[in-house]
């Protein structure tokens, strides 16, 4: 089903992603990115119809941590604002639905995460089933490794192929000045076998922001808007042992509902923090060898938790803005082993 209103990503900005940013608070890290997207559109914060953000208290180690970041958007006098305790891709989804209702014509979406103050592998265990799983403290790398071994057992990949994904991603990232890991990166030792350090994302801090606009407003704000033709997100059973870890039916269904299979895409920005997850996603999304996958380097080059999914949509949109893509797919994931997945299909006007 086509959206009832044409809505586009008209601007995208992100920080340089770094191992630590301890000289800055979250809002200090975020604010230059907010001003970047506002400057690109010539808008002021007071021109924005709706604001939505994504972040995590567990990452920050503080309750209601997102309220501090609100200082960066000028929330007085009161603004129309919302927050998701998730990756900013889901904040973008909320903003998109808000624009669909006609209540607003523009939206500012931002997301940020500082992993450096804590241990992100341990922090992410707190999003797991609290009865049967979280008391065992299985960290994010361990869970991804279980999925990787399942793929290897199923004959869908092997360690050299995974190393190839890592190498291709970080080579692509050499053209991305924001990326944290670029160029030649050693595969290294096993972190949790079969995953080596090279199969895993860097741990880092960063932020990203996107501006959405509807209809003619989008054309006023951007020379070549990245129209959102469809966007959908789906979730699977939380029990890891209930799911087939070698497949991602939620990604496939979200892609179908977003219209991804109606025509081929030329670019796909996949949120695959682990090399093995790219194998699963390529299959679920039926991406052929002719699709440019993660030209930004993807999450293997920079994985600011809570922003990395929004960045995928932003990178896909930016390719359209720059005329490098006509139809691009942006994907975001959340939860262990690709539990929840969001797919957005973006298009530029015909040339």
């Amino acid at each position: 089903m086509r959206p009832v209103r044409d809505i586009a990503v008209v601007a995208f900005g992100q920080t340089d992603h770094r191992r630590t940013s301890d000289e800055f608070s979250e809002v200090e890290m975020l604010m230059p990115v907010l001003h970047d997207v506002l400057d690109r559109t010539g808008m002021k914060t007071s021109d924005i119809g709706f604001t939505c953000s994504g972040s995590s208290d567990y990452l920050a180690g503080r309750a209601f941590s997102f309220t501090m970041a609100l200082d960066g958007v000028g929330a007085w006098p009161p603004i129309s604002e919302s927050h998701v305790e998730m990756d900013g891709a889901w904040a973008l989804y909320e903003a998109w639905t808000k624009l669909l209702t006609g209540d607003a014509d523009t939206a500012l979406v931002y997301a940020y995460g500082k992993s450096s103050p804590g241990s992100v592998r341990d922090v992410l265990t707190r999003q797991l089933d609290p009865y049967y799983v979280a008391p065992l403290w299985p960290d994010s790398v361990a869970l991804a490794a279980l999925q990787a071994q399942a793929l290897i057992d199923a004959g869908e990949t092997d360690e050299p192929a995974l190393a190839g994904v890592a190498s291709r991603s970080r080579t692509a990232a050499t053209s991305n000045s924001h990326a944290q890991l670029r160029g030649s990166v050693a595969q290294g030792d096993y972190l949790v076998r079969p995953l080596r350090t090279g199969d895993c994302p860097p741990i880092g801090d960063g932020a990203a922001a996107v501006i959405l606009a509807a209809g003619e407003r989008a054309r006023d704000l951007c020379e070549r808007p990245a129209w959102i033709r469809g966007i959908d997100h789906r979730i699977e059973a939380h029990g890891l042992g209930v799911r087939d870890l070698t497949d991602s039916p939620s990604t496939r269904l979200a892609a179908e509902r977003a219209g991804a299979f109606e025509r081929p895409v030329d670019t796909a920005e996949l949120h695959a923090p682990f090399t093995s997850q790219e194998v699963v996603l390529r299959k679920a999304l039926r991406l052929g060898a002719d699709v440019d996958v993660n030209p930004s380097g993807g999450a293997l080059a920079a994985n600011p938790v809570m922003a990395a999914g929004l960045i995928r949509i932003g990178e896909a949109a930016a390719r359209i803005h720059r005329g490098l893509s006509d139809r691009a797919l942006g994907h975001a994931t959340s939860g262990p082993c690709l539990q929840q997945n969001l797919v957005a299909v973006l298009e530029g006007d015909a040339r």
Partner: protein, 312 residues
């Protein structure tokens, strides 16, 4: 730029969670060395059991016993165990499909090395010595070639476990960022600094690096105080844990001279029922204190309401 301020921050909480009928039976079963699954409408047995069918969302309650032996469906070798994980020696994370179950349970497998682990290998539960009705009643799995008898249990136990306490602890190193670090640094010299918004000219104390009205970065550092005005206050009648202050006492918003935002602090040196809006106060530092212990009256005439009404 001065040295980045850092301090350890520990967030610790004992999450108390109640159990539904199915989870209660499962965890009570583990305490009694019985493993229970739940049957779905289409006849599959889910272990660990859940209260709603993950496919149809139908409520399911039909408990069925499965064996403490099973088969590894996938695994990952963890050579460097982390705090809280089931074993503190190298082990394999495993998903195990217990005999009689159609889904797999996540846990740890004690094995001498990664060479001893493979998908399809047979394992059995090693029970914890002391069990309380928690997933950790399974100490881990261990390699085992045989199979096991069922106890014939129906899932009804005396003294059912109805809840769990799941302690969680995360360790952080907190750094306050540029603006707040400058504020804390100045406090060490018993000075108070804020930052002025380049757009609306307001001075924020303590500064957070941004003007919440204008949404721009604040940068110009401004020294404020030390004296200030009580803009509003409340009388605290309940003693806080670990706080060595007699009640009742007054907690107030104090607009330091030169600041456009009130900060808060305790008022001392005056009976609690004589504190008032407009009272002029100054900070009182104790030896070695990193911030003012409290504020006391300066003896000046009260400030005129019009002077501070915008700061309430």
């Amino acid at each position: 730029m001065p040295e980045v301020l850092k301090a350890p921050l520990v967030v610790e909480f004992p999450f108390t969670r109640s159990l539904g009928p199915v989870q209660s039976a499962f965890l009570t079963g583990l305490r009694e060395r019985v493993v229970l699954g739940v049957k779905t409408g289409d006849g599959r047995t889910l272990v660990p059991p859940v209260e709603y069918d993950p496919v149809t969302a139908e409520e399911i309650r039909d408990l069925v016993e499965v064996a403490p032996t099973g088969t590894v469906t996938t695994w990952a070798w963890n050579h460097a165990p982390r705090r809280g994980q089931p074993l503190d020696t190298p082990f394999a994370w495993v998903l195990v499909k217990l005999d009689g179950a159609d889904t797999a349970l996540l846990h740890a497998l004690d094995a001498p090395g990664s060479d001893a682990v493979r998908t399809g290998m047979r394992v059995r539960i090693r029970w914890a010595g002391e069990r309380c009705g928690a997933i950790t009643d399974i100490a881990c799995f261990e390699p085992y070639d045989g199979s096991a008898e069922l106890t014939g249990h129906d899932g009804l136990f005396e003294d059912m476990v109805t809840g769990i306490v799941a302690p969680a602890r995360l360790d952080y190193v907190y750094s306050p960022g540029r603006a707040q670090a400058a504020y804390i640094d100045a406090l060490s010299e018993r000075r108070t600094v804020g930052e002025r918004c380049p757009s609306c000219q307001k001075v924020y104390v303590p500064p957070r690096g941004a003007c919440p009205t204008c949404g721009v970065a604040t940068s110009e550092r401004v020294e404020v105080g030390p004296r200030g005005t009580v803009t509003t206050y409340c009388i605290v009648n309940i003693k806080a844990k670990n706080l060595d202050i007699d009640v009742p006492y007054v907690y107030a918003h104090i607009a330091l001279d030169g600041a456009d935002l009130a900060l808060h602090g305790r008022i001392g040196g005056i009976p609690y029922d004589q504190v008032r809006m407009g009272l002029r106060v100054e900070p009182v530092w104790t030896e070695g204190g990193r911030y003012p212990d409290h504020y006391r009256p300066t003896g000046e005439p009260d400030a005129d309401y019009d002077v501070y009404k915008e700061l309430i």
